[in-house]
Symmetry: C2
DNA sequence: TTTGTTTGTTAAGGTGCGTAACATAATAAG
DNA sequence: CTTATTATGTTACGCACCTTAACAAACAAA
């Protein structure tokens, strides 16, 4: 193993810098012809020739066809080869465990959704068990054509910190109660909301943006922050833990620990809704989905609740704008991506903050897996050819 | 002028990459011997020889002496030469205009403090006038040994945005009512709180840190945020405008625009203090300095006010931790760097947030000027030898 | 003075890219 | 069907930038 890793590093060192940038381009942008690579990277044809020869010899790229332009000779088209390997991405969610296996340039090799027997509020034994099974099953059906497994990424519903000492407090260690990660494969853990934010950046509303905030509103509330193109994790992995914003707060009002999380969560919302529900308005909605359905039909009592909730969300957004002014905020999660709230959220933010675009997420339940997949693929690419 | 700039760019292109990195090292770390440069940069002696020859020929470095080790030949010591030029940094503050002129490697060539006739609450005509005079005076006494003026940096008590269209709303344009910037010199504007934050990073409590928040508490309140080694400015230059955090905020409480700024400012603090001051406690303090002095002596009523204020500051810090979790927060400004508040702030943050170190700034009134000076010097260096 | 050590220079070689010229393969025009 | 034009790919060669090796210079200690 040690020997293999060393030879891997040797391969990387052996590649010329132009070869590495060709690899990175194919990694980021998918298949391309030599002339395309040459013009985007500003490299000459001879350089490209030797770069591709290097990569091809290592199995890192392969030719997948030829493209005929309007005139002249056909151009050869290349993509990452089997030697580049593949990654496994797992979203260890509270209701489902979603698994995706892809090449580094994101070609789907395998995917699967496993439904948990019950709603897991915290990262615990059942999730750990499910992850172990998913990994084992995936490893079992690995095909030779996939190449080496380069990274295993897992998105967790907990804070995630790299620092060994601080881990115990996050609960992230519970992942390993029934799951032993495979040997010799880089294991990447990331918070699920952060993953969803990255997915918005690579596949969703925040496509290509370097600065934005993603706020996920569901049972709980959380934020993923991307600034300067980088995910902001925070010293304790607590960046985006906006459930800990000071609340309630005002003259003579003492903020409570996690007071906002308790107030703005789905349970509290439904409790307030039931308490305020008029006698003559029919049966109170059973859950948030029912509440938003009623509001969508124009039901006055439901709409009033939704509006008040949206104003609270707006205040949360304003807190984020006041601290980092991201310019763009994406709302996601079962409650957040609801279109009914959007205008009320915007109204509140307009009243309280500097100009901020607010969008609803269009990505569905796959967002988190796609995010952790990107993290795993990025890591694998960096491992092979550096930054 | 156009011609000069072109030839300047040519010089940069003419330098080898090793020469550029030698320049950057001398810029960042000050004078060094050749062996030192060689070992820190991993360059061989012949390479260093030619790099320094290049830079010396352009006047970018000069020899300032020789150092004798315990054994062997003396090592030549170099620093940036006159050809590298100098920068002017100006803090256009509300009570003083501070000017510093330095070489790129921060050797002080000239400095001056100009006291404004009255406290300027906003960036207006008098500040503009004072800046114009300071720049003119400095340009007049420029010595040939200083080399070319490479950049002029000005710290402003307003939001600063690069985008032309959005400028009008910030008030930053008021700077130019009586001040015309010199031709052909890069002009760099930055918010004064952001500058103070950078000064903490280069000279103060946050020395060398890549992630921290600097919160300035005085007449008004503001924050400078450094994450991943970079200053976070925000889409509208409004990152750190924490006076716009939602406040008051709670069940049935509607946040007001800039409600926190009004509540937590020095004026409001003194108003509350006067209102709550007991009849038998002597005369109420006239200003915050007097209030903190009394609190320092153990005066109960004063201490109660300071403590309550510290709890509000603690809530503000908690809001920042909830959004970005910087890990370290530096408190500055006339009120913020007061040691009496520190334990109460810490108490509140400990109660509400993830572990966060909180320090009082040790830099005095020069912080802002030092920060804009660093911005100007960095820009000048990048101009000469790239990133 | 000699010896060993560090610094600086000169000479020679290698890597990674470029340009120039040529070979190849396609379309368009006659 | 041949020829002209154009784009792609390869080969030959040169340049820029760095390295190692060897040598020269300058110092302290023996």
């Amino acid at each position: 193993m040690e020997q293999k890793q060393l030879s891997e590093a040797d391969i990387r060192a052996a590649f010329t810098s132009s070869a590495r940038s060709v690899f990175r381009t194919l990694f980021q942008s998918g298949p391309a012809t030599r002339p395309q690579l040459g013009s985007t990277l500003g490299l000459s044809r001879p350089t490209l020739s030797s770069s591709i020869a290097e990569l091809f010899a290592a199995g890192y790229v392969e030719k997948i066809g030829e493209v005929q332009g309007p005139l002249g000779r056909k151009a050869a088209m290349y993509r990452l080869g089997a030697g580049a390997g593949h990654v496994i991405a797992i979203d260890a969610g509270s209701t489902h465990v979603r698994t995706r296996v892809t090449t580094l340039d994101r070609r789907l090799l395998h995917h699967r959704v496993y439904r948990l027997s019950s709603n897991q509020r915290h990262l615990g034994a059942e999730i750990s068990h499910a992850v172990a099974e998913e990994v084992e099953a995936t490893l079992a059906l690995t095909e030779p054509g996939w190449g080496k497994l380069r990274a295993l990424g897992i998105a967790l519903p907990s804070r995630v910190v790299a620092d060994n000492a601080a881990r115990a407090a996050t609960g992230q260690e519970n992942l390993f109660s029934h799951f032993t990660p495979p040997d010799g494969v880089p294991l990447l853990l990331e918070n699920n909301v952060n993953c969803a934010a990255l997915a918005e950046q690579s596949h969703g509303v925040a496509q290509g943006l370097n600065d934005f905030a993603y706020i996920q509103i569901g049972l709980k509330i959380g934020m993923g922050l991307v600034l300067g193109g980088r995910l902001i994790r925070g010293r304790s992995g607590a960046a985006g833990e906006i459930g800990h914003l000071p609340f309630p707060w005002g003259p003579g009002l003492r903020p409570q620990n996690a007071g906002l999380e308790d107030y703005v969560g789905a349970e509290a919302l439904m409790q307030r809704t039931r308490a305020a529900w008029p006698q003559d308005a029919g049966a109170a909605p059973a859950d948030t989905a029912a509440l938003f359905a009623l509001a969508g039909e124009g039901h006055a009592a439901a709409l009033a609740q939704v509006k008040r909730h949206a104003e609270d969300i707006g205040a949360i957004v304003s807190a984020c704008v006041g601290v980092v002014d991201p310019g763009i905020v994406v709302l996601g999660g079962g409650i957040g991506d609801n279109a009914i709230m959007l205008p009320y959220v915007r109204e509140t933010v307009d009243r309280l903050s500097y100009p901020t675009e607010i969008h609803a997420s269009s990505l569905g339940a796959d967002a988190t897996v796609l995010g952790i997949e990107k993290i795993a693929a990025d890591h694998a690419c960096e491992l092979l050819v550096g930054k």
